[in-house]
């Protein structure tokens, strides 16, 4: 059985300032595919992920999600995508529970306090759910951001350097989350220097050069 292609990238090119980061990039990702994006600093990993989630307009080429251009899908595309950037996406003044509930609610998913507590326990923040995020450590704040993966229910995950400042246990947890996600027919695109060694039905590797 061949899984249907969900994300298709044709002849994608990216220019930042007066530098061409990459061009002529073709990708075809079916459900359950894990794609690791590697490359030296400044090779365009973050730009690629930001283009794929629609924050950045590509210089050339097109991106199709389930056969439709993401430019014409506009907001509908965002219901299928979760993008976590290398910044934390966590509000320092809000507690972990509030951060999680608000970021979900803004994406149209209202979760109860109990559900939020459950999710945060799973991500390893039991007992710290009600502390303001500014009192948490770097790694713990990263976990708060990652907790959204458990509730989002989206098909396409775009993770940019999310492993920074995470301990071994957390990295293992992320690996198992991604494996679950892939087994459920999702796609994960991860930009990272560390090898995550995810067990996936279909795994690709994209090496960006400078």
């Amino acid at each position: 059985m061949v899984a249907p292609t969900l994300l298709e990238v044709k002849q994608l090119g990216c220019v930042r300032g007066d530098r061409r980061l990459f061009s002529g990039l073709d990708l075809s990702l079916a459900a359950g595919t894990y794609l690791q994006v590697t490359g030296p600093n400044g090779s365009g990993k973050t730009s690629l992920l930001r283009i794929l989630c629609g924050l950045l307009a590509p210089a050339e080429g097109e991106i199709n999600w389930q056969g439709e251009n993401i430019r014409s899908l506009a907001e509908d595309y965002f219901t299928s995508v979760t993008y976590l950037g290398h910044r934390h996406n966590v509000k320092d003044e809000l507690s972990a529970i509030e951060n999680l509930r608000i970021s979900n609610a803004l994406n149209g998913i209202v979760i109860s306090k109990e559900r939020a507590r459950e999710v945060l326990t799973r991500i390893g923040l039991a007992g710290r759910e009600s502390l303001p995020a500014r009192l948490l450590s770097e790694g713990q704040r990263r976990r708060v951001a990652l907790a959204r993966l458990l509730t989002s229910g989206t098909k396409l995950w775009l993770l940019d350097e999310v492993l920074t400042s995470l301990d071994k246990g957390a990295v293992a947890l992320i690996r198992s989350l991604i494996e679950e996600h892939l087994a459920g027919g999702g796609i994960a695109i991860v930009a990272t220097h560390q090898d995550l060694s995810v067990a996936a039905g279909s795994s690709q590797r994209l090496e960006l050069a400078t």
Binding site: G54, E75, Y83, V90, L94, L106, N107, G108
Partner: protein, 219 residues
């Protein structure tokens, strides 16, 4: 959804109350400097009061504008707001509404008190409050366009004033005009209607402009 974003920004503002207070105190101090500098000439004070209070309100709202999107940009939550599955102008509208409640409503409430220093009669104080109530949404709405355009720029605070203050001029003219009309015993209604019309026009156009500016700023 609109409810959540307003609630989020109100909670954040409440946890940083000092920011709100600094805007209010700035307004009170600027307005109070005039009677102290000019001396107890009631006639003169009464005639400059509308302009002084309105200008102070414009300047005070400048203080809070550069925080409208800058904090969210810094911690990356602004990117997430752009990626939510609603039209971006709704997100902007929610943030602007929260900004109005947090930064402008306190000015509206405190205005009659500071107005007393200018020997403004009671009826005119009411017109002052009404004119600010109708006019301050304009400040938040047009200000959000400037805040989005100057996002992430160095010296954005000064740039935002240069960009936005000229656009506030119609609101200033009609707002202060309404209060002035009431002081000399004329009807403030025409000024207030024009101010209301200006508020509606900026309500229709500025969320779109802000949304477009945000997309450009984040590229």
């Amino acid at each position: 959804m609109l409810r959540w974003i307003v609630w989020r920004d109100l909670t954040l503002a409440w946890r940083r109350r000092a920011d709100i207070l600094s805007t209010v105190f700035f307004f009170i101090i600027v307005v109070s400097l005039f009677p102290l500098g000019i001396g107890p000439e009631t006639q003169l004070l009464r005639s400059i009061a509308p302009g002084v209070i309105w200008v102070a309100a414009l300047l005070a709202s400048m203080l809070s504008l550069n925080r409208l999107f800058a904090n969210d940009l810094q911690d990356g939550t602004l990117e997430q707001l752009l990626l939510t599955p609603q039209p971006l102008f709704l997100v902007v509208l929610g943030k602007v509404l929260a900004h109005w409640i947090v930064s402008e409503i306190p000015l509206v409430l405190i205005a009659p008190l500071v107005g007393l220093q200018f020997d403004i009669p009671g009826e005119t104080l009411l017109i002052l409050v009404v004119s600010l109530l109708v006019g301050t949404p304009v400040l938040s709405l047009i200000g959000s366009v400037g805040a989005a355009l100057t996002l992430g720029l160095r010296g954005g605070g000064v740039l935002i004033s240069i960009l936005v203050l000229p656009l506030y001029i119609p609101a200033l003219i009609f707002g202060a005009g309404a209060v002035e009309a009431s002081i000399i015993g004329a009807s403030p209604a025409p000024h207030l209607y024009l101010l209301g019309a200006f508020a509606i026009v900026s309500l229709i156009f500025s969320p779109w402009a802000t949304a477009a500016a945000l997309r450009i700023s984040l590229e």
